[in-house]
């Protein structure tokens, strides 16, 4: 029983080393630098810890012979002790110097920005991420939420801002944390080596739903990325069947339009996530629910049951209005 629980505990702690949200499972240059530094520091400091405790144990076990004069000095022993203590001080100095050097080198890698073509403006909001893809051509600028797509192998510059309180942008598999602070702009660069889906999370306590403020970074090939980007730039597709048509009418006549935007319709709110292509995103409510019909319906009917305190209000809907509305939103691919 004891052994089973030990193995279980060990495997649980080892599970943190891998996965789509793990700083030790590095998939980009910045994350690799951080993981390397983590292992170097762990190894060096672990060794220092073991040596120090060994010396302490040795000192505790060895006793002075009984009956000797405590004030008597032996020049040979004194000399030997001076040598040992000086060596220890010298080694401490060298270790700290070496670790400082490694740390400095790591920071150079983390904060030195390479030239890339893609720049994103990410704004932290209570409790979701607004993502704007910048482009020299104004008609190719677009806004989305909670899901970042990047081409593999290219450095992507992320400008970080906040609309309300301090948030912190963190994609453990790709890079370290960077705060999003009101009234100023921080910058961080991410790069993925191979295609994959990585999860990110707000890493600075920002209020009630801080824990449910996640995002996804999807790294894909250049062709897939361009296809995705061209789809996102386009306006929402018109409803394809009568049910979706009715859903759009319901959306446009309800409080939804005060906060949400769907490009290509009259809904132009800029406070809540852009829903132009909400059906194409894997999660809704900032990484909280998978995008399924049932989850969209649950979120519209009772957002506060899922994320208490969230800014999405409970709205008055007739029972027969839910299905068309969900059908319309799900169809916004």
């Amino acid at each position: 029983m004891k052994r089973t629980s030990f193995v279980l505990l060990l495997s649980v702690s080892l599970a943190g080393c891998q996965g789509w949200q793990s700083a030790l499972d590095a998939h980009g240059p910045a994350a690799r630098t951080l993981a390397d530094m983590f292992w170097i520091f762990t190894a060096v400091l672990g060794t220092v810890w073991v040596l120090t405790l060994g010396a302490l144990l040795l000192a505790l076990r060895r006793r002075r012979a009984a009956g000797t004069d405590p004030l008597a000095t032996n020049p040979a022993i004194e000399r030997r002790m001076t040598v040992v203590v000086s060596t220890a001080i010298g080694m401490t100095f060298l270790t700290v110097l070496a670790l400082t050097g490694i740390s400095y080198g790591g920071q150079r890698v983390l904060y030195g920005h390479k030239d890339g073509t893609l720049t994103l403006l990410v704004t932290g909001r209570q409790w979701w991420w607004q993502i704007m893809y910048e482009d020299p051509q104004p008609n190719r600028v677009f806004t989305t939420a909670n899901e970042i797509h990047i081409p593999v192998g290219e450095p992507v510059l992320i400008k970080l801002e906040s609309a309300d309180v301090i948030h912190s942008f963190w994609i453990p598999n790709l890079t370290g944390k960077m705060d999003a602070i009101t009234g100023r702009q921080n910058q961080i660069q991410i790069q993925a080596d191979r295609p994959g889906v990585y999860r990110g999370q707000c890493a600075e306590f920002c209020g009630l739903q801080h824990a449910h403020m996640g995002m996804l970074v999807i790294a894909e090939t250049k062709e897939d990325f361009e296809r995705w980007r061209n789809n996102q730039i386009a306006s929402a597709k018109p409803p394809s069947n009568p049910e979706q048509q009715r859903g759009m009418e319901i959306f446009l006549s309800k409080p939804c339009v005060m906060c949400h935007q769907i490009r290509g319709t009259d809904a132009g709110g800029k406070i809540a996530p852009d829903l132009t292509h909400v059906g194409s995103r894997r999660y809704i409510a900032a990484g909280t629910l998978e995008t399924t019909r049932g989850n969209i319906a649950a979120w519209i009917i009772d957002p506060h049951g899922i994320k208490p305190g969230v800014n999405m209000p409970t709205i008055q809907l007739e029972p027969d209005e839910v299905q068309p509305l969900v059908s319309f939103l799900e169809g916004l691919k």
Binding site: K254, P255, M258, G309, T314
Partner: protein, 186 residues
């Protein structure tokens, strides 16, 4: 004796934990509240006009959480596009003491919900009922018709006027009447 003292002190301290309720989730089944208000104190007959107020306004206007939510929504829904930060622009000022359509919270709710002539749009069906009440509660706090502990503190960004909390308590003048103090000296 000592135990009694400690116990009573502990109980007293614990009472401070619940200053007020934060109600995040409005009741999803209630329809719009029905407010019957009169815009004029005059009535055809011996009695004043008939009014019916639901009384739910009290829960909103004396609740600091609702007032601060209202302050946020005031900006989000672009109230400051016309009313600025209460000083008025193309819409009338909200932090002064004159209330063309009445300064009770029910009147303000009806003003937001139904709109008013000459420019105030109707937000019926656009803003959920509980948020209309929150905005109305905030509008009342702009002229400090609420107690000091309910009104909002200062903004984080640049503020054009003292925080609602620090304004002097207001004197309400209903119906757009001009007070003597505001008349030009003859």
């Amino acid at each position: 004796m000592r135990i009694l003292l400690i116990t009573s002190l502990t109980v007293l301290t614990l009472t401070a934990c619940e200053r007020e309720d934060r109600e995040y989730r409005a009741n999803p089944v209630t329809a719009e509240s029905e407010e019957k208000i009169a815009l004029s104190p005059l009535s055809a007959g011996p009695n004043p006009p008939f009014e019916r107020r639901s009384g739910m306004g009290q829960d909103y206007e004396e609740n600091a959480f609702h007032v601060s939510q209202g302050k946020k929504l005031y900006v989000w829904f672009n109230c400051n596009g016309c009313h600025a930060n209460g000083g008025g622009g193309s819409g009338p000022p909200l932090m002064d003491d004159r209330w063309s359509y009445g300064g009770q919270i029910e009147n303000i709710v009806q003003t937001i919900r139904e709109g008013r002539p000459n420019g105030m749009p109707s937000f019926r069906g656009r803003i959920p009922d509980d948020q209309i009440w929150q905005i109305a509660a905030y509008v009342r706090s702009m002229g400090r018709y609420v107690s000091k502990d309910v009104a909002s503190g200062r903004n984080d960004d640049m503020h054009p006027a003292p925080a609602e909390q620090r304004r002097p308590p207001g004197q309400m003048i209903d119906g757009g009447q001009v007070p003597n103090s505001a008349l030009m000296p003859q």
